[in-house]
């Protein structure tokens, strides 16, 4: 009886902790596995400077420009926006050797304010924050420190704030292209998507993707069905409301495996997970399902961020967090930083479909040229990315 309770408690605690820091996992990884995972995260934060005892960082970076990122609760290795923003800092440091970078992770929303305050005290040249959760904390810090430069990923301020560059991405535009391509590649006549959470930054992808599937059906007189997301019929302009399949988790790969299996059991042969590293579980399920089942990756080029599954990825529906954070950091280092709102779309390559990699030869030339035409149609505004503009199959 006692042992039973013990193991159940442990399991449940770990399951619940998956949202934040997994302390149990950290101990196991660091102590039992010979500190390998710990070493990896240290290596990635290799700004460690050995110097005088008092405030070594300030001594080491006196002449340098310091770029800092505060992660949200997803952590720096989320294979999603935290990781992408950090990759942007790395890219900036690679382009300009005067730039060094570091990050602070948040284990709960209570950490946002003190983490930002720590980086202001560290005299960071620019502080990158991530997600709508941190919008209020970023705004408050920007107001009380008007000379501190910030950039926030996945948010827009109305009105704009002069020392904050808010980065927002119209991923429904490249999601539309991804949906069209998925429909074109499906042989079963069904394709499926699922999200990590029912929030606009996730559903905007799914919404555009479903619109792309419906558009494919309309112009080609086909009946490919999109599973996993049903856009709401009546909604305010700019809203991406609807009903769909969600894992409510961005880290637990098992949930991705389950949702992908559910969609495939309903007949879908192309899966589009919009759930950060949960998508890796979906990839495992798709691989297990065998020939004729494919995926599209999200946020970053899957053949680079998850190369072990590259052979499954028709394409990736990417969002240009890396280049835009890099540009913001470089401009702050050069002194040409401007706050305000930036919107990444197909026109400015802020969002795009990745190269097709293994599928370059498998995607019919007709479909590839249709995608090029679609892209310019969306940019010119001739083609609507609202799924309600097209009939559902």
């Amino acid at each position: 009886m006692a042992m039973n309770d013990l193991s159940q408690t442990g399991l449940a605690c770990r399951a619940l902790r998956s949202r934040g820091r997994t302390k149990v996992a950290a101990v196991l990884a660091a102590v039992a596995l010979g500190t390998t995972s710990f070493a990896a995260s240290t290596a990635s934060a290799s700004t460690y400077a050995v110097g005088k005892r008092v405030a070594p960082a300030r001594v080491a970076h006196a002449k340098k420009f310091l770029a800092c990122e505060v992660t949200d609760t997803g952590g720096i290795n989320d294979r999603s926006f935290n990781a992408s923003a950090y990759a942007g800092l790395k890219a900036a440091a690679a382009a300009d050797p005067g730039i060094s970078y570091k990050f602070l992770s948040s284990s709960s929303t209570s950490d946002y304010q003190p983490n930002i305050a720590d980086f202001i005290a560290e005299k960071c040249g620019i502080i990158i924050t991530v997600g709508f959760d941190m919008a209020d904390a970023t705004q408050a810090a920007a107001k009380s420190h008007p000379n501190q430069r910030f950039a926030i990923v996945d948010y827009t301020y109305t009105p704009a704030i002069k020392n904050v560059l808010a980065l927002h991405y119209d991923t429904n535009e490249d999601g539309f292209l991804g949906g069209y391509l998925a429909a074109a590649m499906s042989t079963s006549g069904k394709v499926g998507t699922f999200g990590g959470q029912d929030i606009p930054t996730v559903t905007i992808y799914m919404d555009g993707w479903v619109a792309g599937v419906r558009y494919y059906d309309k112009v080609n007189h086909k009946h490919v069905v999109a599973l996993g997301w049903t856009p709401a019929k009546k909604r305010a302009p700019g809203s991406f409301a609807g009903n769909g399949l969600f894992t409510n988790d961005f880290t637990n790969q098992n949930l991705g495996k389950q949702d992908a299996a559910t969609l495939m059991a309903q007949g879908a042969d192309v899966i589009f997970p919009v759930a950060g590293s949960v998508g890796l579980g979906a990839a495992a399920a798709v691989k297990q399902a065998g020939a004729g089942h494919y995926m599209e990756w999200v946020d970053t080029d899957g053949c680079i961020s998850a190369p072990q599954y590259c052979s499954l990825f028709i394409t990736s529906v990417t969002k240009g967090i890396v280049p835009s954070v890099e540009a913001a950091t470089l401009s702050a280092a050069k002194g040409t930083f401007h706050g305000g709102n930036y919107i990444g779309d197909l026109a400015n390559n802020g969002v795009s479909l990745s190269p097709f990699h293994d599928f370059q030869s498998k995607i019919p030339a007709k479909v590839q040229s249709a995608l090029v035409a679609l892209r310019s149609g969306i940019i010119s505004g001739k083609i609507s990315t609202d799924p309600n503009s097209y009939p559902a199959s």
Binding site: M1, A2, D5, Q8, T9, A12, C13, L16, R19, G20, R21, K23, V24, A26, A30, T35, F38, A39, S41, T42, A43, A45, S46, T47, Y48, A49, V50, R53, A55, P56, A57, C68, T73, K102, F103, L104, S105, S107, S108, T109, S110, D111, Q113, P114, N115, A117, D118, A121, E122, F132, D133, D136, Q197, D198, I199, P200, T201, S239, F240, N248
Partner: protein, 415 residues
Amino acid sequence: MSEPGSPRRQPRPLIVPFRRLAQANVAVVTGLSVVSALVLGAVLIVVTTPSVLHVLGHIGSHPGRALGLTGASVGDAYWAMFSGAIVSPSALGHVLSTGHGWVTLFTPLSETLVAATPLVLAGLGVAIGFSTGVFNIGAQGQLIAGALAALYVGFEVKLPIGIHAPLVVLAGAAGGAAAGFVPGILKARTGAHEVITTIMFNYVMLNLLDYLLSVSPFQQPGQSNAISRTMPATARLPHLFGSGLRVNAGLLVALALVAGATWFTRRSTLGFSFRVIGLNPNAGKTAGIDARRVTVLVLTLSGALAGLAGTASLAGTDFFLSSGYGGNIGFDAITVALLGRNRPTGVLFAGLLFAALDVGGRNMQAVTGIPLDLASVSQALIVMFVATPVLVREIFRLRGSAAASLQLSTGGWGG
């Protein structure tokens, strides 16, 4: 670590003055557990810093340089941890030479107190359960329930400053109490084990929070994101030392409850009956204590304290709720209660220690780039050492049998 002690050998303390202290008691074992964890943490810093590993590889040719760099990397990390959690000597120097910068000087201490407040409150709740033999794993869910109730009273009720905030605190306690009452009544009426029901209630509350964050009236108007309305100014807990420092009246609530819990467990009749049930339920029942009533009361009280923990963060520093609110506080509260050996003052000090490691770890990552995970690992190691006093006694060659009898009081774990 050290060779296992053989029965023939006399225990030899490491340092001579240590002989006095070597009569193992709770404080000594806890203190030495902290030391052991920090030493292991230092090893982790060394083996995970590539530059240090590199010079250690050449220790034969440059022993001085290798040891110097190793010492510097460990020293820098712990120095950053200390100055981030307690006081930064450079800030102290600045105040002493210029007479300005008081806010900067006290910011680390203020941050530690802010982080400790919810840990102590939720820890008290868990500890009261443990010492009564009730294993409440639901602090996380009760914390969310409390925060939701507090937030609702915060934005829905219009009251002047001075009345509103206390009402919000009461609402938070009531919300947590309600979430604790349900598993309590389930156990009393049906015998459902509280470990299972409280864990399951965590999931219910987490998902209820996610749902409420996306609908009126909780969702922030004009937002389609899962984020709540913010606490109006009247409902916020006042700062204790000016707006520059985040330490707020929530700390006073926590301190008052530590004192109250001490009185309650030692002096009150109800507290006495709680303790009796915890020590021996059968003896308690024979003595005429209604064990069912005690179970319901304990879980309700435990939930109320967890609810206050959620309210303290919400009304003191955060002012809004978002998905997964509370992070790990509900689970850290379990470790804090165990480390504090379920005594109110013990919980206070354990909460302060955990908060200092959290806040200091943050500064360590900001300054040196060593991941915050090191602080988490240190916390876990401390608890592991405290839980194995025999190991600590072996490492430090403590005299006496007291250490052997030290056990974490988790009575009632098996139901």
